[in-house]
Amino acid sequence: MSAIQPSDCTIFVQIWVDTDALVNGQTTGVYLVDNNLNHGSANEGSVNLMTAVPVGTNICWSLLNVDPTSDTILSIQNFGNAGVFGASGTPQQVNATTWTGTVQAQGEDRYAINFSAQIPGKSGITTSVDPTLSVH
């Protein structure tokens, strides 16, 4: 199944990374925001972002460097499963830093986003965040 295009999404989650502060397995220097403060999202700007959306919403996640001139290669490895993604909504890869999915079931779940940062000349850093989706 091919991934949903970002242009078909209404909710966008950005995962901003300060690669200078990033540590293997930790979430220091990672900040999540979405475009949904009007409709009940909470904990914006933190790793505990809670995105509140109705069933059927297409969501696009982007992994981004706070420094737009950085040579560091960021990459989303995968998403953990969660009940709110239902039978077929689990996020799929669009490109290395962009994934899209659909919430198909009501409920509130934490979901894992596993990602890596390859800083030139250094060993790679792998970590994950587990923000919340609240689906009504």
Binding site: S2, P6, S7, D18, D20, Y31, E44, P68, N95
Partner: protein, 162 residues
């Protein structure tokens, strides 16, 4: 898999390599819902100086701690950059409210934007003087395609150069 999807913040066009980078992510729908008035949420600032002692990460009132002499990049992006809304955000200017870190010589100037971002989305300044500074940043948030509406927002974050 499509390769046609624009990515934000991946370009390097200005030629400058700021040691300190500040990102401003904007929830354009929230700003529009407030009609641009009294916006104290929906705009999130992050920098790459957490290990240097910056505080307020992920909030409107970021307090950046940089090193004296640092070039400081400011990049503003709409959170729905990959969507079809066409919403745009650009920086329209900086003033210093209190203190002097930029001085006249380090006052931020507009640079060529990263790939996929409009002109005005990326500015670079320089910390020319040790100390603390409260600066005011003004952005223009434009929402809608057929009849775009612009809102001008300003607020007062902080920079300490040591």
């Amino acid at each position: 898999m499509s390769e046609a999807v624009a990515q934000v913040s991946t370009g390097r066009k200005s030629g400058l390599q700021p040691q300190t980078s500040i990102t401003i992510a904007v929830d354009t729908a929230y700003v529009a819902a407030q009609q641009g008035q009294n916006v104290s949420k929906g705009i999130y600032m992050m920098d790459n100086r957490l290990r240097n002692g910056s505080t307020g990460e992920g909030t409107l009132e970021l307090s950046t701690v940089c090193n004296n002499g640092d070039l400081i990049g400011f990049n503003v992006v709409p959170i729905n950059a990959l969507g079809t809304s066409g919403d745009e955000v650009v920086i329209t200017g900086f003033t210093v409210s209190q203190g002097s870190v930029f001085t006249a010589a380090g006052q931020p100037r507009q640079q060529e934007s990263p790939k996929g971002e409009p002109q005005g989305a990326y500015w670079v300044g320089q910390a020319m003087h040790q100390g603390e500074q409260t600066y005011q940043i003004q952005i223009e948030v434009t929402v809608g395609k057929l009849q775009p509406v612009s809102y001008f927002i300003n607020w007062d974050p902080f920079i300490t150069a040591r």
